[in-house]
Symmetry: C2
Subunit: 552 residues, 2 copies
Amino acid sequence: MANGAQALMKTLADAGVEVCFSNPGTSEMHFVAALDSEPRMRAVLALFEGVATGAADGYARMAGKPAATLLHLGCGLGNGLANLHNARKGRVPVLNIVGDHATYHMPLDAQLQSDIETVARNVSPGFVRTSMRTEDLSRDAVDALVAARGLPGQVATLILPADVSWGEGATPCAPPPPATPTAADAAVVEDVAGVLRSGAKVALLLGGHALREAGLEAAGRIAARTGAKLLAEVFPTRLERGAGLPPVERVAYLAELAGVQLGQFEHLVLVDAKTPVSFFAYPGKASELVPPGCRVHTLSRHDQDAVASLGALVAALGAGDAEPVRQPASRPPRPRGKLTAAKVCKAVGHLLPDRAIVVDEAITSGLMLGMMTAGAPRHDLITLTGGAIGQGLPSAVGAAIACPDRKVVALIGDGTAMYTIQALWTMARENLDVTAIVFNNASYSVLNVELERVGAERIGPKARSQLDIGGPGLDFARLAQGMGVHAVRTDTAEAFCHAFEYALDAPGPHLIDAVVPESLGGAKRRILPWLLRSLPSLPPGLALALKRKLAP
Amino acid sequence: MANGAQALMKTLADAGVEVCFSNPGTSEMHFVAALDSEPRMRAVLALFEGVATGAADGYARMAGKPAATLLHLGCGLGNGLANLHNARKGRVPVLNIVGDHATYHMPLDAQLQSDIETVARNVSPGFVRTSMRTEDLSRDAVDALVAARGLPGQVATLILPADVSWGEGATPCAPPPPATPTAADAAVVEDVAGVLRSGAKVALLLGGHALREAGLEAAGRIAARTGAKLLAEVFPTRLERGAGLPPVERVAYLAELAGVQLGQFEHLVLVDAKTPVSFFAYPGKASELVPPGCRVHTLSRHDQDAVASLGALVAALGAGDAEPVRQPASRPPRPRGKLTAAKVCKAVGHLLPDRAIVVDEAITSGLMLGMMTAGAPRHDLITLTGGAIGQGLPSAVGAAIACPDRKVVALIGDGTAMYTIQALWTMARENLDVTAIVFNNASYSVLNVELERVGAERIGPKARSQLDIGGPGLDFARLAQGMGVHAVRTDTAEAFCHAFEYALDAPGPHLIDAVVPESLGGAKRRILPWLLRSLPSLPPGLALALKRKLAP
């Protein structure tokens, strides 16, 4: 005979949920107590809920299955919301377990009482349930898991009142069957194959599961046979890349660039991807990025098997024996001299170990990262799917727990790092093999660009100060050391390379505080010159098209 | 001719909103740009939204009027939710301005798109509005301010789409008239006066505005005339206390204690306070703290003028010339030897300067704070009204900005400090006169108590590790220094007193990392002995009653 928490724990473990990223309070104490009844469940403590939810996101991206989070009422869920948003937008499975007051305590409006379901709906539109009876709890958990693990993956939130958790009479529930997604309909495949055979200019926009090796291989064959261009979503959930894999070109963050990138195509075929739109709206500019006259086709919806759909397309095109273009191995040379953001990216490309997991939340400073690591040994790239900054460090925690035999390299902007800086403590506590590189340019640099892009032209000192985080300057080495993480501060390329080599050699967490100038220059820059300066980081075809467009 | 953001800024300033605690993104850039058009508006940047919202809460508690927050879409609001919850529970006015995508961009489901209103309703049930037209924006802001500043005060959320902000054709709106709350009905006053005259055992439970000087003076007269006991809500929004003021006894956090405290009364009179309930539910224990047979009366509802209601009661009782009992001036001696949490509280009582603002988020370590500072010079006490930890440091930021001529002393648990540790950077940036004292006991100490209180008896190592934040130990001095705040680490009472004296003498932010043993002892403690040990910190009458009850 088990109490609710114990039965829940066994149900989760039976279903393959092995990790719980937690920040518990009193209402979760029975769940915490039940941890010792289930040897298959690992509990990873975070000092802030945004770390727990971001870690669950990063874990699921790499493990291919959900972790649980354990959060304390509406406030704990609120603290975790931003990174759950990133998981939702990345279609990543996460199972939230949110403790609540005992059912009979709720009407009393105690201090921590709030409407949890209303908060949860923001990130869990597909599954929010308050489990009201101990005997239903395990079944509710299975329902939540089915929702989370389906296609598309999603965030499911199970609200667990304290008395349902401590109540006796619960029995564990058998694990749910695996989801069985289907491939695209034959008619759709034939339609897309017809477009590809037509000789028109076609791009495949790959997202979600299409960006893993099997999807890339299939897409590569299609491209080799038909001449189609392979594009990737601007912020992939998980992109496999590096030497030997078919390369894909990511849609640019800046709408100005993305418009040029997409402007050349007559057909855009979506494969587990959304129709691309501008990240933000800008006065007088279109939000849609697909050019007028370009037809959009959906080969594989989010609820379908992208790899199987691509396989069907390969078969329809008779491209099974086509040899994809593959990324040649190549690394940039070792950088020298005063450190810059570009040199950090260069050093990462120069030294990135085989099978690394690269977490990119470097915003402006990471501009050159894609180019510098293109020919590095094979690696996975995790990016900011929902635009809610503060995802990088927590995501690295989760990735490292999912893949303890791989190096995790997290590149983080200084502004973004501060949202969930508490992740460093969990890295130290769990001795995770993560090297965090913080680009310390003392600025919300991207906002300097955005301020101009939105047309807010006359900028005074008060406005400018809202983008400046250099007064006082942040010392990330001290912050890391204060949480038990080995750290150094570097301002030359030589020192950076040395620190990075040391970090890669010595297992366990490291932070490198990379002091760099703001990569986008001073306050008086304009967007056009900046675009021109960014050309070297772009794929050659795009750079050329852009130069033509921007030339006076 | 102004754009929406400029008109909004002028409308806010005209209505007396002088501070905006901000963490902006691209969708808020026009609001940021408009800051320089309004010299009366001060923008205070936070590196995390929970700092901005907690600061707005602390500011309003001390300034007596709302500040604005500036938050970035649903994710920014999510990050700020926990401290908005504390403001809601404390009935504190806060005006959230949450930027959103341009109205025409919303249907495109871009990366940062989410349902902001659903999140906002958790903390702003009384006012959530998306302003859809530039010409309506100023009027919408005034409506939000009316909602926020009314009685009771509340959190109001105005969602501001980017195109409404950048659109032209807006005009500022005249400020709303001040709220005019009314006092209790004469019949209610007469009824309560009859109870007080009856000779029965009566307690007045004071909350909200009744805990400021005017309310305490009136309540003190009533107590002096009738023998009624004066109690305060367990977590007051703002309590004026210290030498010369009528003292009130706070209802205990532990239901076991509160039950004893309230058990002696036949009548409980609520004055801007809620019927007391247990903070959490516990198996087999009642959640209601009012004993059976005790009648509850409401003198003044939250939407009424508590001070005027108490004044009417003073008049009805003819107590205008009664002299309240006043707290005598007295300070504990200077502590010596190895540092403990109790000695930190003693040192604070020994040294607290006149007119200090004390922020108490010390959870278990602050147990002795109330007693040790009871006879200190007059001060204000700000507490954790909603139970969402991470409120203390941000609240200190806001209090210091509201009262630049007063010392702010924030006592914070180590676990709680980590939720919003980024507040230290804003203290350094704004050179705020805050001394933050972190009780570093390497534990979520309160959860060790709660684990037993909820009856989770058999605790294994995995469960225990979820309450232990000592591996690795946090070095708060380094964390503070990493954000530009002067800090020291102390483990003797002598060093602590020296550091505290230095901090009080030198204007600007300081942090003292107070290394103390866990105040509740080892893992094997039981709740009863702990209650007995806590007796010295309780008011004598309660301690005596408790001893009798707990004696074998």
